[in-house]
C-alpha cells in the first residue's frame, strides 16, 4: 500500500469574485522512502494541493473534496485533533521563505523544543537534547551555542536548515517541502538539497518536493507530477518524463529552459499567460497556449491516460500517440545535438 494516496483531490475557494478552483481533480501516490516531485508554475495548484493534504487551508470559504489516504486513513475527513496529531509528527512540511517562517521573538531552541513537546510527553531537558542532536545533523556549526540564538541571527541557508531540523525532529514518514530552495543562493541550494537527500536516506522518509525548477526534479525526484492550471498534465517516473515527455506543456517547459551545458540559439516559448483559476478555459486548460490545438481540445478536458502499456506514465492530452512520440523525439534530439559533454 502506498504511504500516501491522493485521489481526485479538489479544493475550491469562494472569494468575492467567484469560486477559485485552485485544485481540480489531482491524483498521485507516494511510496515509502520515495521522492515525488510536483512541478508547475505559479497558479498551478501545487502548493495548495499539499496544504489541503495537511489541512492547513483557512477553513472558511474553502471546500475540499476527494481523498488523501495516509496509511489508509483519509486526511480530508479526519478530525482537527487527529490532523494535529499527524502534523509535525507523521507528516511534516517546510516552506519556501526561511526568513519569515520562523517566529522572530522565540529562540530557535524554543521552537524546536515546541515541535517535540507537542507530540511527545517528555521532559524539557530531553526535548532540548533531541533539538541539539538535530541541529548537529543538519550541519549547524557550534550548535550548543546557537540553539539559544534567535532566527534573525542566522543566515537564510542556516534558517532553512533549522526548518528542516524542526520538520524531521519527530521522524516523520513523509516530508513535504514546498519550494525549499527557491529563495536561496544556488550554492546554498545545492547544500540544502544534498542535506535533504542524506536525511531522507537516514530516516527513510518519503519526500514530496514542490518546485518550479525542472533541474531540481531531475536531481532528486523518483517520480514526477507535472501540474498545470489546477490539474495534472502528466505524471510518471522521472526518466520517462524527461526521456519521453508526452504533453505539449511539458515540451514547452523543457524547451523554454535555458541550458547550462549548451549554447541555445533561441528559446522555445509558450505563448500567453497561465490561465485564471476563476474562469479556466473550457475543455483542455492548456489549449489557448498550445501550438497543437485541435477542435476537440476546446471542448473536452482530456483525462489522464497511460502512455502505451506503461501504467506508471500517464498524460492528459488529445494528441495521438504518434505525434507525441515524434514531437518528444524532436525536442530531445534538439537537446542532444547541441549538447556538449556533461559538466
Amino acid at each position: 500500500m502506498p504511504l500516501l494516496e491522493v485521489k481526485d483531490l479538489k479544493t475550491y475557494f469562494s472569494t468575492g469574485d467567484g469560486v477559485v478552483k485552485a485544485v481540480d481533480g489531482v491524483s498521485f501516490s507516494v511510496d515509502k522512502g520515495e521522492t515525488l516531485g510536483i512541478v508547475g508554475e505559479s497558479g498551478s495548484g501545487k502548493s495548495v494541493t499539499c496544504l489541503t493534504i495537511m489541512g492547513l487551508n483557512a477553513r472558511r470559504n474553502t471546500m475540499s473534496m476527494g481523498q488523501a489516504l495516509f496509511n489508509g486513513e483519509d486526511l480530508l475527513t479526519a478530525s482537527q485533533a487527529r490532523l494535529r496529531e499527524i502534523r509535525g509528527n507523521d507528516i511534516a512540511m517546510i516552506f519556501q521563505d526561511p526568513m519569515t517562517s520562523l517566529n522572530p521573538v522565540h529562540t530557535v531552541g524554543t521552537q524546536l523544543i515546541e515541535a517535540v513537546t507537542l507530540h511527545r510527553d517528555v521532559p524539557k531537558k530531553e526535548a532540548r537534547a533531541r533539538a541539539l542532536e538535530l541541529l548537529k545533523q543538519v550541519g549547524i556549526p557550534r550548535a550548543e551555542r546557537r540553539i539559544d540564538d534567535y532566527p534573525h541571527q542566522f543566515s537564510g541557508g542556516m534558517r532553512q536548515r533549522v526548518m528542516i531540523a524542526m520538520a524531521l525532529i519527530n521522524n516523520p514518514e513523509l516530508l513535504i517541502a514546498d519550494e525549499p530552495t527557491t529563495a536561496l543562493d544556488v550554492t546554498t541550494q545545492a547544500q540544502i538539497l544534498a542535506l535533504i537527500e542524506k536525511l531522507q536516506a537516514d530516516y527513510n522518509s518519503a519526500v514530496i518536493m514542490i518546485t518550479h525548477d525542472l533541474g531540481v526534479i531531475a536531481e532528486i525526484a523518483d517520480d514526477v507530477v507535472v501540474m498545470y492550471a489546477a490539474e495534472v498534465a502528466e505524471k510518471g517516473p522521472v526518466e520517462r518524463i524527461f526521456r519521453s515527455p508526452h504533453h505539449p506543456y511539458t515540451w514547452g517547459l523543457m524547451g523554454s529552459l535555458p541550458r547550462l551545458d549548451t549554447d541555445v540559439d533561441r528559446l522555445a516559448q509558450i505563448q500567453g499567460q497561465p490561465p485564471s483559476l476563476l474562469r479556466p478555459p473550457a475543455g483542455c486548460r492548456f489549449h489557448p497556449r498550445c501550438p497543437y490545438v485541435m477542435d476537440v481540445c476546446r471542448k473536452v478536458d482530456p483525462e489522464l491516460a497511460p502512455v502505451g502499456d506503461d501504467r506508471r506514465h500517464l498524460q492528459a492530452c488529445h494528441l495521438d500517440e504518434e505525434t507525441k512520440e515524434r514531437e518528444a523525439a524532436r525536442l530531445l534530439g534538439a537537446f542532444s545535438t547541441e549538447a556538449s559533454a556533461a559538466p
Binding site: 502534523r87 509535525g88 519569515t100 522572530p104 515546541e114 507537542l118 524542526m166
Partner: protein, 332 residues
C-alpha cells in the same frame, strides 16, 4: 544597550529644553500683560509696574527663562554648589506654589487616566482579537460600527449625556465631582469606594475614544500577524489553535500596542481636558485652562514641564520595554 539609553537620555534633555523654551517664548509673545491682569482693573500704571517688578515680568525674556531653568534644576550655585529641590515657582494670580497646585491636581488626573486605561484595554483586547478572528462576521461588523461611533462622539457630549442620563435621571452614579482616595476634604465624600464610585462615569467617558482606536489597531495587527509565515509553520507542527494564538500570534501582534500605550498614557497624563471639565475634576487639564485664562504663566509652564517630563519618561520606558521584548532590537 547602554549606548542606546545614554543617547535617548541626551535627546530627552534636548527635547525638554526645546519644549520649555518654546512655551516660555510663546507666553512672552502674548500681547497681554500678566502684571496688569494680576493686579486687577483698579490698578494704576504705577502699581502695575510695581507688580511687574515683584513678579519679575519686567526683566528681559532670557533672564526670565534663565531664572526659570535655575529654579527647576536640582542643583544650585548660589552660595556654593549644593543640592536643592526643584520648584516650579508661584502662580501670578494667587501666589500659590505651582508645585502644590500640581501636587493636588496630578493625582486626580492620574486616577482618571490610569483607571480609564484599564477599562479601555479590557474592552479593546477581547473585541479586537475576536474581530480579527472572525472578519466580516456579525461581531466584526458591530464592533467596527461601534469603533466609528466611539471615535466620532465628542467626549464632552458623551460625558454630558452620560452624566445627565445615568447620574441625574437614573441616579445610578454621582453627576460630577471627585472624591479623594485618602483624605476627604471637609464635608466631601472620601475613601476608596467613593473614589471609584465617582470615577465610574468619567472612566467610561474617557475610555470610549481610546477603546475605539485600540480595537481597530489590535484587530489590524492580529489580522496581519495571522497571515505571517511563522504562524503557518506553527500550525504545520501540529500546535492547537489556542497555543498558536497565545505563543505565536499575540506576542508579535501586541508589540506595537505597547508603544502606543506608552505614548497615549504620557500624553493623557497632561490632562484629559474634556472629561475633566464635564465632571468637574480638578485635574491638570482643568488647571491648565484656568491658568491660561488668567495668563498665569508659571502655572502653565509648570504643568508643561510636568507633562513634558511624563511624556519623555513614558516614551523612554516604552522603548526600553520594546527593546527588551523584541530580540531583534535587543541583540542588534
Amino acid at each position: 544597550m547602554i549606548r542606546y539609553i545614554i543617547r535617548r537620555l541626551i535627546w530627552a534633555v534636548a527635547l525638554f529644553l526645546t519644549v520649555t523654551l518654546i512655551g516660555f517664548v510663546l507666553f512672552y509673545l502674548i500681547p497681554a500683560d500678566p502684571a496688569k491682569f494680576a493686579c486687577g482693573r483698579a490698578c494704576t500704571p504705577d502699581m502695575v509696574k510695581k507688580v511687574a517688578h515683584y513678579l519679575g515680568t519686567d526683566r528681559p525674556v532670557y533672564v526670565q527663562y534663565g531664572k526659570f531653568l535655575g529654579r527647576i534644576m536640582p542643583v544650585s550655585f548660589h552660595g556654593g554648589f549644593h543640592l536643592k529641590s526643584p520648584n516650579l515657582g508661584r502662580s501670578f494670580v494667587n501666589r500659590q506654589s505651582v508645585d502644590y497646585t500640581i501636587g493636588q491636581a496630578a493625582p486626580e488626573t492620574a486616577s482618571l487616566v490610569l483607571g480609564g486605561l484599564v477599562i479601555w484595554m479590557l474592552i479593546a483586547l477581547p473585541i479586537g482579537i475576536l474581530s480579527a478572528l472572525r472578519p466580516r462576521s456579525l461581531l466584526d461588523r458591530v464592533s467596527m460600527t461601534g469603533v466609528l461611533v466611539g471615535i466620532s462622539t465628542h467626549p464632552v457630549w458623551l460625558g454630558l449625556m452620560a452624566s445627565w442620563l445615568i447620574g441625574y435621571k437614573l441616579h445610578i452614579t454621582p453627576i460630577a465631582g471627585y472624591a479623594n482616595f485618602f483624605h476627604p476634604l471637609f464635608a466631601q465624600p472620601g475613601g476608596p469606594i467613593q473614589w471609584a464610585y465617582h470615577l465610574i462615569l468619567p472612566w467610561i467617558t474617557f475610555a470610549i475614544l481610546f477603546a475605539a482606536v485600540y480595537v481597530r489597531m489590535i484587530r489590524a495587527n492580529v489580522m496581519e500577524t495571522m497571515n505571517e509565515d511563522y504562524v503557518r509553520t506553527a500550525r504545520a507542527k501540529g500546535a492547537p489553535e489556542a497555543r498558536v494564538m497565545r505563543v505565536h500570534i499575540l506576542r508579535n501582534a501586541l508589540l506595537p500596542v505597547v508603544t502606543m500605550l506608552g505614548m497615549d498614557v504620557g500624553l493623557a497624563l497632561g490632562g484629559a481636558i474634556f472629561t475633566e471639565q464635564v465632571y468637574s475634576i480638578n485635574g491638570l487639564g482643568y488647571q491648565t485652562i484656568q491658568a491660561l485664562n488668567n495668563y498665569d504663566s508659571p502655572t502653565v509652564l509648570g504643568i508643561l514641564v510636568f507633562v513634558c517630563t511624563s511624556v519623555i519618561v513614558m516614551n523612554l520606558l516604552v522603548d526600553l520595554v520594546y527593546a527588551w521584548i523584541d530580540p531583534r532590537i535587543r541583540l542588534s
